[in-house]
């Protein structure tokens, strides 16, 4: 262990007296502390942090509910300025999002979100049922400190930050840490789309990375400027904790008899995109007042599910 060096070095200096003994104790405590931290990090290093399996109210958050806005085959992150170049997407938040959109152009325009100052662009692939596009009921957006991240350390996204989460081309299950299907707002994500009851219909849940490299708003692969935290820490090359964004797309799909696929093809290809075009002062305020102060500034509960039919009864 690297800790052995300082211990040996200090032990040779014991004859220096009381001062050295005190120093030894302090260093020893530091080593124990470091070992604890190393142990904790080593355990958590195994897996980057994503979906938080918690009861709402347990961790700080603010939330935004957005109606469905529009659909198109545009993708302003992957194919900027190239209309129709992508597979079909459903857009939420900013109502003007199109291939040529930039954060500056989106700022201050109309939004489908209940929070009128959230003019950010959110999008996800279109879900098809028997080949026909399913019109989503809307999307819920959760902003939280990443799991184990000190809430006081979270910083707002820089204006214009672009993020992608999940793999559109996945033909096999992705980690449900980041992408999954669930029934209702409270359901845990699964790789396969479950058959959902009417009062808790189908959701696509995508968790974005919560650490930023502090420099770039985008990167060549649109991913490497961001990273997922591990064990409550952001990696050294992505040192800035930002809110962990979870996008939940709500579909009016429940029961049997569906033949579902997700653009561009596989149900395993769940993904979502985000351009930060929030009103800057409002986003900074929400991060400072809610996340940094470790408060729950809102919840999205299944009380507000878009129920298609009455609650089922059980015999």
């Amino acid at each position: 262990m690297t800790a052995a060096g300082p211990v040996a070095e200090v032990s040779t200096r014991r004859h220096l007296g009381v001062l050295a003994q005190a120093l030894l104790i302090l260093v020893g405590l530091a080593i124990i502390g470091a070992a604890v931290v190393v142990g904790r990090t080593a355990r958590a290093e195994a897996m980057p942090s994503g979906f938080q399996r918690i009861v709402q109210g347990t961790v700080p958050q603010f939330v935004v509910r957005c109606a469905y806005s529009h659909s198109s085959t545009d993708d302003p992150i992957v194919y900027p300025g190239d209309p129709g170049a992508s597979h079909r997407h459903d857009f939420f938040g900013n109502r003007a999002t199109a291939a040529a959109s930039t954060a500056d152009a989106l700022l201050g325009t109309d939004t489908s979100c209940q929070q009128a100052l959230d003019t950010a662009a959110y999008w996800a692939p279109t879900l098809f049922d028997h080949g026909a596009p399913v019109v989503p009921q809307g999307a819920d957006v959760y902003y939280r400190p990443g799991p184990g991240i000190d809430p006081a350390s979270v910083r707002p996204y820089p204006h214009g930050l672009m993020m992608i989460a999940g793999d559109a081309m996945a033909m096999a299950p992705q980690s449900t840490q980041f992408v999954g299907w669930a029934c209702g707002s409270g359901g845990d994500p699964q790789a396969e789309a479950p058959i959902c009851p009417p009062d808790a219909p189908l959701r696509l849940k995508v968790v974005f990375p919560d650490c930023w490299n502090g420099r770039e708003l985008d990167s060549t692969d649109h991913r490497s400027h961001m990273a997922y935290s591990r064990g409550g820490r952001c990696p050294a090359d992505h040192p800035t904790p930002v809110p962990q964004l979870q996008l939940t797309v709500r579909y009016p799909v429940h029961g049997e008899g569906h033949e579902l696929n997700l653009a561009p093809g596989s149900m395993y290809g769940g993904h979502a995109d985000f351009i930060n075009a929030w009103d800057e002062a409002e986003l900074a305020g929400q991060v400072r007042l809610c996340l940094n102060r470790a408060l729950v500034c809102g919840v999205i509960s299944n009380k507000a599910e878009d129920v298609d039919r009455p609650l089922p009864t059980r015999a």
């Binding site: 399996r53 109210g57 408060l295 729950v296 509960s301 009455p310 089922p312």
Partner: protein, 457 residues
């Protein structure tokens, strides 16, 4: 015993008593008061001293009074300073207006002992008045209307009170106290109308009293519920006493889906435990006047707590680990358990004046009981015999048809932005002269036994 030993004994007892007295009163007399638990005596006037309410809040020290003169303030005020009193000089003329662009009128964020009094907030996309994560809160003589979520709202907060307030035009609840146990809170002398729900209290309870208030013309009146999707489950130990609950079948209100489902019911506990529903006057409901019903929760996060977990304060229960995913049922059944319904007057209900429903399929009252109520119909029949508080007897007939309770089409949600504008509401006395009143020693002492069944207006 000798005089001397008696004197010694008395002396010792006196010493113990003095020590105990100093311990129990230490926080209020000998130790320095927490910032914001006492009025500072300073007043900041808006707009005279500060042009905006937020400016005044930002300039204020704990315990200050911010006195707002009439005007329309297009602000979303955030308060993070303890013990402020934010007061309008005229409840009906000091108006916070979000113009359907701003989220919350006044939001108190983790700042204890904050009082908001004598003003109106309207046209906010989220809530009018909202406290979160606080100990000590007071909303008094407040008017809220046309809000996108709740009207007057306390979440994850304890030791508070809403009184003499009015809330209308919210798709969720006009008044909401949620996620607290024990809440130590009260809603008194208030009016809630044209909301999806008059009152909602998910997972709230423990010395929580709703009294002397009126819930009318909502989709549903008073609807506390349990659910593992938020902390502090189950809903429990709420006392509803001396309220007027009527005509909560209003089809034109804004309404979230639960409000649509609950439409046409006066008082409905959905999976609540040990609530006391006494001396309320309840009339004119399409479905049920007072009903104790189950709440089946799909995709639960946890199971129904039992044993110590059921009486544990939420501050401790929140640290309990969740069960493994595969140990959870697909649907978690929250039954209404141990509720007492006594001395209410209930009339003109479509399905039943008094009702108990369960999905367990057995004739087990689950500790719920009905006695001394004035009513004409019930499910099960003869509910004050089959579920009498003195002990149930007799076989059940005509049990509550839960399918009928929740079935049938409901009118779609109305637009919260076009709900009725309330008539002028009473002002607080001495609004311009009363000193700052940090929210301490709340809720006020409420003599439940002295609150009568109210007369029909």
């Amino acid at each position: 015993m000798t005089t001397r030993s008696r004197t010694a004994l008395v002396g010792a007892l006196l010493a113990i008593a003095m020590i105990m007295a100093s311990c129990s009163s230490g926080s209020s007399s000998s130790a320095p008061a927490e910032p914001g638990t006492k009025a500072s005596g300073r007043t900041i006037a808006v707009p005279a001293d500060q042009p905006t309410i937020q400016g005044a809040v930002d300039a204020a020290q704990p315990g200050d009074l911010i006195l707002v003169s009439p005007g329309i303030y297009n602000e979303a005020v955030n308060i993070t300073t303890a013990g402020l009193t934010l007061r309008g000089t005229d409840r009906n003329a000091v108006i916070l207006d979000g113009e359907f662009k701003l989220e919350n009128g006044v939001r108190v964020l983790g700042a204890n002992n904050v009082t908001v009094q004598n003003m109106t907030a309207r046209n906010y996309t989220n809530n009018a008045f909202f406290w979160t994560g606080v100990k000590g809160y007071h909303g008094s003589y407040l008017t809220s209307y046309r809000t996108g979520n709740y009207g007057i709202y306390a979440f994850d907060s304890v030791d508070g009170q809403f009184d003499h307030s009015y809330a209308s035009g919210s798709p969720d609840a006009g008044f909401y106290i949620g996620e607290c146990f024990p809440c130590n809170a009260a809603i008194l002398d208030s009016i809630s109308e044209y909301n999806g729900l008059g009152y909602s209290g998910t997972n709230a309870g423990g010395n929580l009293v709703i009294a002397r208030s009126e819930f009318r013309f909502n989709r549903a009146g008073i609807v506390p519920n349990s659910g593992s999707y938020e902390l502090c489950y189950p809903e429990r130990e709420t006392t509803l006493v001396g309220n007027l609950v009527h005509d909560n079948s209003q089809p034109e209100t804004p309404a979230i889906d639960v409000a649509k489902l609950a439409m046409g019911n006066g008082i409905l506990t959905a999976g609540g435990h040990n609530n006391l529903i006494i001396r309320n006057r309840v009339w004119n409901h399409e479905r049920v006047g007072i009903g104790l019903v189950p709440f089946p929760e799909d995709g639960p996060k946890d199971v129904v707590p039992t044993g110590d977990a059921l009486t544990m304060p939420c501050s401790e229960a929140r640290n309990l680990p969740l069960p493994a995913k595969d140990a959870l049922p697909g649907t978690l059944l929250w039954d209404s358990i141990g509720n007492r319904v006594e001395g209410n007057s209930v009339s003109d209900s479509g399905l039943a004046d008094l009702a108990f429903g369960t999905l367990t399929g057995s004739e087990d009252p689950l500790g719920n009981c009905f006695s001394g109520n004035t009513f004409t119909s019930s499910a099960p029949a003869a509910i004050e015999t089959t579920m009498a508080c003195s002990g149930p007897s007799g076989a059940w007939t005509d049990t509550l048809d839960l399918v009928a309770l929740i079935a049938s089409e409901r009118p779609p949600s109305g637009d919260y932005k076009v709900q009725p504008v309330p008539s002028p509401q009473p002002n607080m006395p001495d609004a311009t002269t009363a000193p700052g009143q940090p929210a301490v020693d709340l809720p006020e002492r409420i003599d439940i036994a002295s609150i009568p069944l109210p007369a029909r207006p």
